[in-house]
Amino acid sequence: MGLIYNMAFIEKRELLNSQSVERAITRITHEILEKNKGALNLALIGIRTRGIHLAKRIALKIEDIEKIKVPIGVIDITLYRDDIGISEDHPRLQKTEIPFSITDKTIVLIDDVLFTGRTIRAALDAIIDLGRPRFVRLAVLIDRGNRELPIQANFVGRELPTTREEKIQVQLLETDGIDRVVLGEERK
């Protein structure tokens, strides 16, 4: 899931520029293919919103390298959140669109930032409700630490240890007009 973009965000420093983001995505793609020994039986599922764009880019790179189009799905984890009725802070529910059977596939779940792990817990539940994949792996552009659940990514673009108070924004061409990752804080 994306971070808070419409809140007052004060940028402190750029952590990754557009070339670094591009390289990170390329490396994740190669690692996925290496681990899976090719693109066979592979399917990508992006978590709304920025995970979708990352999934599409990785799929394009896979097609370049392996000449195989891997199926892409989109998942909205809102219905599986553990804070419904507790937190007021919910995004508008959007569609889950997985136009293929996930049963027996190797699913790579893709998100922009891995933080508390709660989004991934919800995404795993959502996936399991749709079928029984052979493997589920996790790819994230940024792992910023501070996990609240025992969840670990298989493929990480960049590890960026942060404090809980800091904010990380991943900006992507498709949503923000530029590829970069910035560290900042919320205006109080």
Binding site: M1, I4, T78, G85, H90, P91, R92, K95, D112, L114
Partner: protein, 313 residues
């Protein structure tokens, strides 16, 4: 842009933004009912009570399935076999149900205003599933959802609502909803079944169905509610059917992409001929399918699916 309200009593209270939020949310929830396992854990541990003081198949079942598909616990009370028959008042029944700590009470009642009375005196969220001749908001929302799905828009459409407008809570809720989203509405029926000052709501009136049909994008046929008529408001069922019933013949000048809707249950051969009800223009069964998604959205948005910014990871 969020459903910041405790209850859903009528469409009249809603803004266009709130209506769109419910429709958009329903669009996302519709997918759940197409899965092999038709269930998401969203409302796990929440309790919903269906309190129906009137007969209902569609609405009650639809709310039950909507609740179950969101993993809420729901029980339905049919008042005909409850303590209501021993003379318990509405408020007392409400207070007793409240004491069992439900999160939502869905009520259908023959008297207009009954849901509002409960909403004012009880803690749980109250959802109006139809009260007298007042409103039936979930029906209007599923009608709009179906229209939007078929026509890809609502604004600018020409909609006719045909039949007993006076006794119809569906008509009233549909009119509010359609006008708020920019459609134009013509009500059609015998003068005895159209309220005298209905134009004040912003609708046109016609007494001739044939004149209206050619320009319609949507026709909503209403059920003749024999149970609500206390006097003879038209000479005979046969005459009503001949003048205001919809048959294949009357549809010869209709637009090719016209859709015909009906809230059910249909009086076949009275307001709708079978060949129309089961024909190519009819989206009546799709309305029923969509009803579950719309009611899921209502329950979800009342119980915490409130909208704000994007959230943390």
């Amino acid at each position: 842009m969020r459903l910041r309200r405790k209850d859903l009593i009528g469409i009249r209270d809603l803004t266009a933004e709130e209506i769109n939020l419910i429709l958009d949310t329903a669009e996302s929830l519709k997918e759940v009912s197409t899965r092999d396992i038709k269930k998401v854990p969203t409302l796990r541990g929440r309790t919903i009570v269906n309190l129906f003081y009137e007969a209902s198949t569609r609405t009650r079942t639809s709310f039950e399935l909507a609740a179950k598909r969101l993993s809420a616990d729901i029980i339905s009370i049919a008042t005909a076999i409850s303590s209501v028959t021993k003379g318990e008042t509405l408020k007392d029944t409400g207070k007793n149900i409240e004491a069992m700590n439900p999160d939502i009470i869905i009520i259908r009642h023959p008297h207009s205003g009954a849901p509002e009375i409960l909403a004012k005196s009880l803690r749980p969220a109250i959802v109006n599933a139809g009260d007298g001749a007042h409103e039936h908001p979930s029906q209007a929302l599923l009608d709009l959802f179906t229209i939007r799905e078929k026509k890809k828009k609502i604004a600018g459409l020409k909609v006719a609502i045909v039949g007993d407008i006076t006794h119809s809570r569906v008509a009233r809720s549909d009119i509010y909803a359609l006008l708020k989203l920019g459609a134009s509405v013509t009500v059609v029926g015998p003068a005895t079944l159209i309220p005298a000052d209905i134009e004040k709501m912003g609708v046109k009136v016609s007494y001739r169905l044939e004149d209206v049909i050619p320009e319609c994008d949507v026709i909503i046929m209403l059920r003749i509610q024999l149970e609500r008529m206390t006097q003879n408001l038209f000479p005979s069922i046969r005459e009503y059917s001949r003048i205001f019933g919809l048959n294949k013949d009357k549809l010869k000048d209709a637009k090719s992409d016209l859709i015909i809707m009906h809230p059910g249950p249909i009086n076949r051969g009275i307001e709708l001929d079978s060949e129309v009800a089961d024909g190519p223009y009819s989206v009546i069964l799709e309305q029923v399918t969509n009803g579950i998604a719309v009611r899921m959205a209502i329950l979800y948005l009342l119980l915490g699916g409130r909208e704000e910014s994007e959230s943390t990871n």
